[in-house]
């Protein structure tokens, strides 16, 4: 059984080329965007990409957590894939933390208006919010949440690799289930209280500092979760195509496809609930968010967002065959990731650099992040066998029928 991944030279080269493009874009951006207003786009692009890519690799930790707590068996055959993806969290977490700190301590007020003390003093709403929107709170939350995600991710990965040295006895099996359940329970609580609430408020919602929506964090979660599922699918197919993961077949792919289908609809449900309620009530303090997005320059993106992230997966994944076909799943996974990247773009852009421009800079950075993720994940995949051979639910995954 081909159980030990070796990074092909081509993959490595690809990742370096992609990272090169990203770095080059960053350098060009540094020179192209300067001055008080100019630099806004430089920082906004970094913020958009680093939050998006961190949250979609973190979705892999969430995948492990949720499936473990639900006592899922089907995913064990490829569990090492989300494990490897999740190990990008420490690196991307560090990158994002540095970017956030630079934005806050270099006082990039066109990203976050609440950073500027003068602004806050003159603005009664911002002064009201200053107990929450301030540098200390922002730094503290970022450090604690990113730190906790990293700790749990590493711990779960370590436990899984350690279990390879154990045995197949029922007593061991019970121990594996128990300690993973406990650890995942802890992680899910942290995840719900960060990604499901405070994190998106601070990092993204506070860009439009006057505006508020209770749905915002759940919406952001749905966006990154479905993209994270698509990312897992891409790596599973890649390994399968290269002759690895012999126990994974179209049954497992089919289920990943169902998840992508279901959570695309879930994302749309949250999108609709947030938008419709604000549109219906038509209150000035709320519609201010959708003004530039629906009635301003960003209008085409607003509709494109729905077309790519709802209509496309809905129609494309409705059929059984597309969910069981490796090529079609690769296609739709890329569409989903690109679509939600665009969703993040329209969450950040209108509140920072305002005008709709061709996002060459943002895309270039995105390409760089993709390269970094490929490099990190490929490297992690080599660090352990591709099948967690002592997991008590592995055989259920082998006989899995969707």
């Amino acid at each position: 059984m081909k159980d030990q991944f070796v990074v092909p030279a081509r993959l490595k080269r690809t990742s370096f080329v992609l990272m090169g493009i990203g770095l080059l874009t960053l350098l060009i951006g540094l020179f192209a965007f300067h001055g008080e207003h100019g630099s806004t786009r430089f920082w906004a692009g970094l913020l958009q990409n680093s939050t998006f890519f961190l949250l979609i690799v973190l979705a892999s930790t969430f995948f492990i957590g949720a499936t473990t707590l639900a006592h899922g068996g089907w995913q064990i055959g490829f569990r090492r894939v989300p494990e490897a993806i999740s190990m990008a969290v420490p690196y991307l977490g560090a990158v994002l933390f540095v970017i956030l700190m630079l934005i806050v301590f270099l006082e990039k007020e066109h990203i976050y208006h609440w950073i500027n003390a003068h602004h806050v003093a003159e603005d009664p709403i911002l002064s009201w919010k200053s107990a929450f929107l301030n540098k200390g709170m922002f730094t503290g939350f970022a450090a604690v949440t990113i730190g906790a995600w990293i700790l749990f991710t590493i711990k779960l990965r370590r436990m899984s690799i350690e279990e390879d040295g154990w045995d197949l006895s029922p007593a061991t099996g019970r121990r594996i289930i128990w300690r993973n359940t406990v650890m995942c329970g802890g992680f899910i609580v942290i995840y719900a209280l960060s990604v499901g609430s405070t994190t998106p408020w601070l990092w993204l919602m506070s860009i439009d500092a006057h505006w508020y929506s209770t749905m915002y964090s759940w919406y952001t979660f749905a966006s990154t979760w479905v993209s994270g599922l698509a990312l897992i699918t891409l790596f599973v197919v890649y390994l399968k195509r290269n002759g690895y993961l012999p126990m994974v077949n179209e049954e497992h792919l089919h289920d990943l496809g169902k998840f992508c289908f279901a959570f695309s609809i879930f994302w749309t449900y949250l999108w609709f609930s947030q938008y419709m309620l604000i549109w219906y009530a038509n209150m000035p303090e709320e519609i201010v968010y959708f003004k530039p997005r629906v009635w301003g320059e960003w209008r085409p993106i607003f509709f494109l967002n729905l077309l790519i992230n709802f209509i496309t997966p809905l129609l494309y994944l409705m059929k059984r065959d597309t969910k069981r076909n490796y090529s079609s799943m690769v296609f739709i996974s890329i569409v989903i990731i690109a679509g939600h990247w665009m969703d993040f773009w329209q969450m950040v852009g209108p509140g920072t650099y305002k005008e709709l421009v061709f996002p060459w800079y943002e895309l270039g950075l995105g390409v760089g992040f993709v390269g970094l993720i490929i490099l990190l994940v490929a490297n992690q995949l080599t660090k352990a066998a591709l099948v967690p051979k002592n997991h008590p639910y592995l055989k259920e995954s082998i006989v899995h029928h969707t």
Binding site: G185, L193, Y269, Y393, L394, I398, T402
Partner: protein, 492 residues
């Protein structure tokens, strides 16, 4: 691959030594016996409650809605609170029959029939409230859009209250069809075993001439799949639209974007609690502990702690945003009229019952304790009733004009109406428990050979095998039963 295998670490879904015949015996025989004394006592009490409810409603219709204590600011009180509460309870049935089916959760087979019955009865109870709130109830059909001679006067398609009419009637229809189509093979089983002519005739009619032929099963499976597909969006849509009743308005405390998913989570939360309340009694009275096991109850308690925590997150998010929004009216509603003020007590009952107490289910010992589960299931439904009371009444009782501010307590016809719906619900449920198979016999049989205790013993031989050995065994098996395998593939 047609090997029936499941990890032996999962506890069996059917305990004891069972074969297909024994399953039929265990579940069907209570229908054939005379009900016990307790059943008659319970049924009689339910009928009394129903009668009192009918009296209270008649009183209200005769004298008008003025007999309720609704006042200037509280236009919606106990009536709509009860409406939302009952609709919410209904959600567990749909979730179990549709979403847990999609997630391939085998344990749903032990509880789906009773949960779906509960859904239907709960929706019937819920429907009473908006209808009788209309006052001139003989004009209730005005809510239906049809070409008419009143102008023609059409219903207001922009109103979420009208969407509710559509959502709930669709929900009721689909749930009823789903429930009934599942019942058909089981009714046929009762018919085939019937000793008396009358029973044979009635169950024969109810089973639509089911013979159990392959063609029948095929059509049955196809229908179930279509209905499951239709029910899945309904799980979300019904309570979403109920939440729109509030959230589309501009009333502080009602207008917030998180309402739709949070209402759905709360509905599932209360629905599962009601399933627990009912099934703990049913499994005891009908001796079905081997089919509704501790494992089933533990699984449902996990859903309860999950949805309770989701609801908790939503409460805290709302509370935070009421401050963060910097809108003084939102702030006052949450911090002065809800968490404090004359009706503040209801907010703290809600918080305690829905968010704090369900956290005991993080512990396995508590999840598997029947007494704790029973008490918790009632606490949760008290909490969820107060959630609706808090949302409706504490947002309304202090409006923009302090001279209208008042307190609200229900009058006797309001309370009587609510008690009456309990009567309706339990009358239906007692009849169901007596005349219907409370567990889906055919579905239990479909999981018996994978998850039955005696069958699982045969799987122990595989547990020591490595993945390669196990896989090799499978392929070996495939060769021997080639035609079999092909059929299995074509079917799936």
């Amino acid at each position: 691959m047609h090997l029936k295998y499941e990890s032996t670490l999962r506890e069996p879904l059917v305990d004891g030594e069972k074969n297909y015949h024994q399953v039929t015996e265990d579940i069907i025989s209570p229908i054939e016996a005379k009900p016990g004394k307790l059943w008659y006592v319970g049924f009689f009490i339910s009928l009394l409650l129903l009668a009192f409810g009918a009296f209270s409603v008649t009183w209200e219709v005769y004298y008008g809605t003025g007999v309720w204590n609704l006042n200037k600011t509280i236009g919606w009180g106990w009536d709509i609170t009860n409406f939302v509460w009952w609709v919410g309870i209904g959600h567990a049935g749909t979730l179990i029959s549709a979403i847990l089916l999609l997630f391939r959760q085998g344990w749903r087979t032990g509880v789906n029939r009773a949960a779906e019955a509960m859904t239907i009865f709960a929706v019937m109870c819920a429907g009473q409230f908006p209808i009788f709130h209309m006052g001139r109830v003989w004009m209730a059909f005005f809510v239906l859009p049809y070409p008419n001679t009143r102008g023609p006067l059409w219903v207001n398609f922009n109103s979420p209250l009208l969407w509710d009419v559509f959502a709930i009637s669709t929900y009721f229809t689909v749930s009823l069809l789903f429930w009934y189509s599942g019942l058909i093979p089981d009714f046929a089983t009762v018919r085939d075993r019937a000793k008396t002519k009358l029973r044979k005739l009635l169950y024969g009619i109810a089973s639509f001439g089911w013979t159990g032929s392959t063609k029948h099963w095929q059509r049955h499976e196809a229908l179930s799949l279509v209905l499951a597909g239709l029910s899945t969006p309904l799980v979300l849509s019904v309570h979403t639209i109920v939440s729109f009743d509030f959230a589309t308005s501009v009333i502080p405390g009602w207008h917030t974007t998180i309402f739709p998913p949070y209402f759905v989570a709360g509905a599932i939360f209360s629905g599962f609690a009601m399933v627990q309340t009912l099934l703990i009694i049913v499994r005891k009275v009908l001796n079905l502990e081997e089919y509704i096991t501790m494992g089933h109850m533990e699984a449902m308690n996990k859903v309860i702690v999950l949805t309770g925590s989701v609801v908790g997150c939503a409460y805290l998010t709302e509370l935070f945003m009421a401050w963060y929004a910097a809108v003084p009216y939102e702030f006052d509603t949450f911090y002065k009229f809800r968490a404090a003020g004359p009706l503040g007590w209801s907010y703290w009952i809600m918080m305690t019952c829905n968010v704090i107490t369900p956290q005991v289910f993080w512990f396995r010992k508590m999840r598997r304790n029947v007494a704790v589960t029973f008490v918790m299931s009632i606490i949760v439904n008290i909490g969820m009733w107060f959630e609706r009371f808090v949302i409706i009444c504490t947002s309304l009782y202090r409006d923009y004009l302090p001279s209208s501010w008042g307190y609200y307590r229900p009058s006797w016809p309001e309370v009587g109406f609510y008690m009456g719906t309990f009567g309706l619900f339990f009358t239906c449920f007692f009849l169901f428990a007596k005349y219907f198979p409370v567990i889906a016999v055919a579905e239990i049989k479909s999981i018996l050979k994978t998850s039955g205790e005696n069958y699982k013993r045969g799987m122990e031989q595989y547990e020591g095998q490595s993945a390669e050995q196990f896989e090799k065994g499978l392929h070996h098996d495939d060769h021997h039963h080639d035609t079999h395998g092909a059929v299995a593939h074509a079917h799936n």
